[in-house]
Symmetry: C2
Subunit: 253 residues, 2 copies
C-alpha cells in the first residue's frame, strides 16, 4: 500500500457519497455518516488496462472489489488450458466473494476493457459492521443475491436451449445497463463471442449463428460488438418457460 500516488488518486477519488453507483453498491441503504466511514477504507487504485488482472486464482484473499467503470470477467482455468468464464461484472457489481471461504481466491478476475475498481479491504469491512448498523445485513443480502444469481444461471445451463440462453444473457445485460442509467436497448458488448459461449456453455460458432439468426428475425440489430434490441417482447417470449431464472438473472444488482 504505497502512499505516493497522490496525483492519480486525486483524479480517481470520487467519494462514495458522490458516486453515481451508490444506490447499486455497498452503501445501499446506509446514511450519509455511515457512508463516510465506509469511504475511509475504500482504496481507489489506478485503472486497469484491458487484460489486467484484479486478482488471480490462488492469490491471498484481502479485499472485495467493486467495479467503478468498465467490465471485469471472472474465470477459472482448466487443467487442459482452456478457460471457463464464470461471470461478467458491470459497474456497481462486487467481485471476489468466492475468496472469503478459504482465504484465497478460487478464480481469476481480469479487465475486459479499461476498468476502474474500488478495493474494499475485507478485514476492515468486517470491523466496520460493528459501528455501522445495517452494513452487516447489507453484506448478507449481497452474498445472498450472488447465490440467487448463480442458481438462476445453473437452471439456465441445466435445461435451456442455446436460443434461450443467449436471450436470457442479453436481457440480463439490458436490465443491468438500464439500472446503471444506460440504454436498455442499445449497448456494446465488451466480451468476445468466445467468452459469451464459455459463460453460457455454448460453442462460439453457436453464439455467432444465434446473433445472425436474431438479426434475421428482426429481434436484434448486430454490428460486431454493438447490439440494438429491436423487439424486446419477442426476446422475452423466447424465455416464457424460463421465468424463474430470468427473474434471478435480472436481480437489481
Amino acid at each position: 500500500m504505497p502512499k505516493n500516488k497522490v496525483v492519480s488518486l486525486n483524479k480517481l477519488k470520487v467519494a462514495c457519497k458522490n458516486c453515481g453507483l451508490a444506490k447499486l453498491c455497498l452503501p445501499l441503504g446506509l446514511d450519509s455518516g455511515d457512508i463516510d466511514q465506509l469511504d475511509a477504507i475504500v482504496q481507489r487504485n489506478r485503472p486497469l488496462h484491458r487484460g489486467g488482472h484484479v486478482f488471480q486464482t490462488g492469490d491471498k484473499f484481502r479485499s472485495l472489489y467493486v467495479v467503478k467503470t468498465g467490465t471485469i470477467k471472472t474465470y477459472t482455468q482448466c487443467p487442459n488450458g482452456s478457460e471457463q468464464v464464470v461471470g461478467f461484472h458491470l459497474p456497481g457489481e462486487v467481485v471476489g466473494l468466492d475468496g472469503i471461504e478459504c482465504d484465497k481466491h478460487l478464480c481469476s478476475a481480469k479487465a475486459l476493457e479499461t476498468t476502474a475498481v474500488c478495493e474494499v479491504p475485507f478485514g476492515r469491512l468486517e470491523e466496520l459492521t460493528s459501528s455501522i448498523p445495517g452494513l452487516q445485513h447489507q453484506l448478507f443480502r449481497l452474498m445472498s443475491r450472488e447465490i440467487t444469481k448463480e442458481t438462476g444461471l445453473m437452471v439456465l445451463l441445466g435445461k435451456s436451449t442455446a436460443e434461450e440462453r443467449l436471450a436470457a444473457f442479453l436481457l440480463s445485460l439490458s436490465v443491468r445497463f438500464h439500472n446503471r442509467g444506460f440504454s436498455p436497448v442499445e449497448f456494446n458488448l465488451s466480451m468476445s463471442r468466445q467468452e459469451i459461449g464459455s459463460y453460457l456453455g455454448l460453442a462460439l460458432e453457436t453464439v455467432s449463428r444465434l446473433f445472425t439468426h436474431f438479426q434475421e428475425e428482426s429481434i436484434l440489430l448486430v454490428d460486431r460488438k454493438h447490439i440494438k434490441i429491436l423487439d424486446m417482447d419477442q426476446l422475452y417470449n423466447l424465455l416464457s418457460n424460463q421465468t424463474t431464472c430470468l427473474d434471478r438473472l435480472q436481480a437489481p444488482n
Copy 2:
C-alpha cells in the same frame, strides 16, 4: 402416539455442543460458551416426513435451516409445471440462504426422507454476531462456500459430458458422506433418477443408462438406490479435465 411424541422430542433436543455435526455446522470454530448462546436461539421442531416442506417459494424468510438427519432437496417450479432441482442437502448443510436478499424464499425445500432440521431464526442470528466474535466471519465463510459450490456446478453444467456430471455427483456425495462419518464407498441415494437428472441437467433415462454403464465397467455396484463404489480411481479419472469444479463440489461442508 402422544407418549411417543414426548420421547421423540426429547431425543431430538440434542444441544449443539453434543451434536456430532458441530464441526461441520454453524458452531465451527466457536468456543463452548459461544455455542451455548447459539444453542439458545435454535429451534428444534418435529421431524418432517418424506415430502414435507421446510419452506416454499414465496414464503416469508425468517430462518435458516440446518439439516440434522435425512436429506432436503431444494427446487424451483417452472411455469410449465416441471421442477428443477437446485440442490441436495445432507446433515450439517444449511438451507435457505437464498431468502436473505428479498426477505422471501426463492425456492422450495422438501424432505426426501424423514428429516430433522434445526431452525435458526435469522434476525436473532444476526444479533448474536455482536456478542459472539467470529460468528459473523463464520457466516460470511458459509455463504462464500455456497457461492463456490454453485460456481463449481455451473462449470460442470456448462461444459461436461453426462458421464463426467454423474461421476462428479457421486464423488461429491462420497466425500460429503465421508466427512459425516459414513462410508465413502457405499451409501444409499435418497433421490430418484429423475431428481438426479434434473439436478445435473440430464434426462432420467441418461442417468439410468449411466448407472448401468458404470456397473458394466466395474466402477460401481448399483442395486436400485444402493450404490457401492468399486473403483474410486477410475471415477476420479473420468474427471481429469474437470478438477476445478471437482475441488469446488468437494468443499468440506
